[in-house]
Subunit: 325 residues, 2 copies
Amino acid sequence: MPIYDVTGIGNAIVDVLAPCDEQFLTDYKIEKGAMTLIDENRAQELYKAMKNVTEVSGGSCANTMAGLASFGGKGAYIGVVAADQLGDIFDHDMSALGLTYNTSRYLGSKETARCYVFITPDGERSMNTFLGACTELAVEHVDHILISNSAVTHMEGYLFDKDPAKEAYFLAGKIAHEAEREISLALSDSFCVERHRKDFQELVKGSVDILFGNERELQALYETDSVDEAMRIAGQTCKIVVSTRGADGVAIIFNGEEIFVPAPKVDRLVDSTGAGDQLAAGFLYGYTHGMSPEASGLLGVKAAAEVITHIGPRPLMQYKDFLQE
Amino acid sequence: MPIYDVTGIGNAIVDVLAPCDEQFLTDYKIEKGAMTLIDENRAQELYKAMKNVTEVSGGSCANTMAGLASFGGKGAYIGVVAADQLGDIFDHDMSALGLTYNTSRYLGSKETARCYVFITPDGERSMNTFLGACTELAVEHVDHILISNSAVTHMEGYLFDKDPAKEAYFLAGKIAHEAEREISLALSDSFCVERHRKDFQELVKGSVDILFGNERELQALYETDSVDEAMRIAGQTCKIVVSTRGADGVAIIFNGEEIFVPAPKVDRLVDSTGAGDQLAAGFLYGYTHGMSPEASGLLGVKAAAEVITHIGPRPLMQYKDFLQE
């Protein structure tokens, strides 16, 4: 029996959230809906322009782990922060959720990563990430004990923007499969997939058991306009492919069979940050607790529907309440 | 003509907000509705226990200045943060609002202050403050140029917990009055008033033109069960006394005459943090723009009604929109 349901590997990031209007995105040339990597100068320029700012721990995979913990799941996390106050905040927030988080702090001059999240009135989020200490994640952080004792090791695509992290992912895949555990991957962002298509294809083919992606991400992975085609290709090597469809719900391929789980209606979309992350959280909780793909998908869409009703990428309620419904 | 409408002097604090239930307050012996000063050990103990944490800039007077800026007022702020990341966040948030904030950073070993805010389901907030670098505020920070060029200098009672800050307040009063400007004081907290009653009485009598306090604070100031009696005593030396009455509205004594301004109805109280601060913001904006006490009070209750509908102590809308109504 594995000790952990899920170990996550990801970019350990503090989110810096601010509301803004469409004009602001135009004025500052921010690509709407995308995650763009930025350098320190650009980070300073954008931060200067932000008003009504809130700081919360973020990071795609870390958000998923927060959701898993909220369902009552047992999780661990691997990701690098610096020995600074933002690192303390990130560390606190993981530990407070009951997650095991032991990754050694980076002690050099880079600061803990932050993601500037611009939230437009339509609830869409446009992200600009300064990776800072995150970029230090490498094979030495891949904890053999955690991974070989976790039913699933969940990884986020964003880390593929740095070569040492790519190596870490392939190593994690090797460790997991040698221990007869599974690997799950969230593609994260279609532009990131395009930047590293070949490496993503290799990882998905050789190491990934459960693949998460929205339509654009899956299409980008196989350079096709058809998401069905993309899911079919992924499904040839992955046990499960989970394709998120926004407000519609989620399409799942499991053992070659396609299942569709509709999403609950959301009255008021406030901030879509974390929707995909919490979808993965619900699905992985269900999956690691012996539920069917359909039941797992239902937990996923419920969690995603909750997180978009408020500012911030992590649950504000106990997701374990969904288990009684 | 003064250059600034208001210069604020206060504890420069980053708020660390988390929802909790009533049991949590009992378990951790947190006094409900009060602001309690805590030491570093207690700060660590409480922080460890907090989940779903959000960080935002706070500090009573700084919140008032944020509100003033949101009305379109011109403001400056005096308060001490450390040369750390939380200090950077506080500094950024003041500057982003267009406020002048030039107080030199504290360079010693104390960190920027934080206030752990526990929000119960009834919207009440219970605050535990670790003052850190705040306690360094002293006469050398009292900026003669800012104060003598501001129509009003607004101060928060919380700073009275440290003697060097008391001295700074008396000096600010002297500078303001020599320049024919006015001093405003928010009593902040009835327990703080009780801790320093004599000094508060002396300050109010000798230096304060506009006094803000809720019923308990005003009663504590003069050791009386009657808020009317307390307002009458304060009104003998203060030009204006503003007594907040929660959901009912605000009572104002101006030139010996009492005015009552009812508060707008709020559908859903989410987090009462910042209500008194934004009341003062609205009132001071109106007052420094030549409005009547009644019109100023109306801006105050509108701002207070907005800030309690969401998490966090600062406006999420432009208060200048209230000016068109």
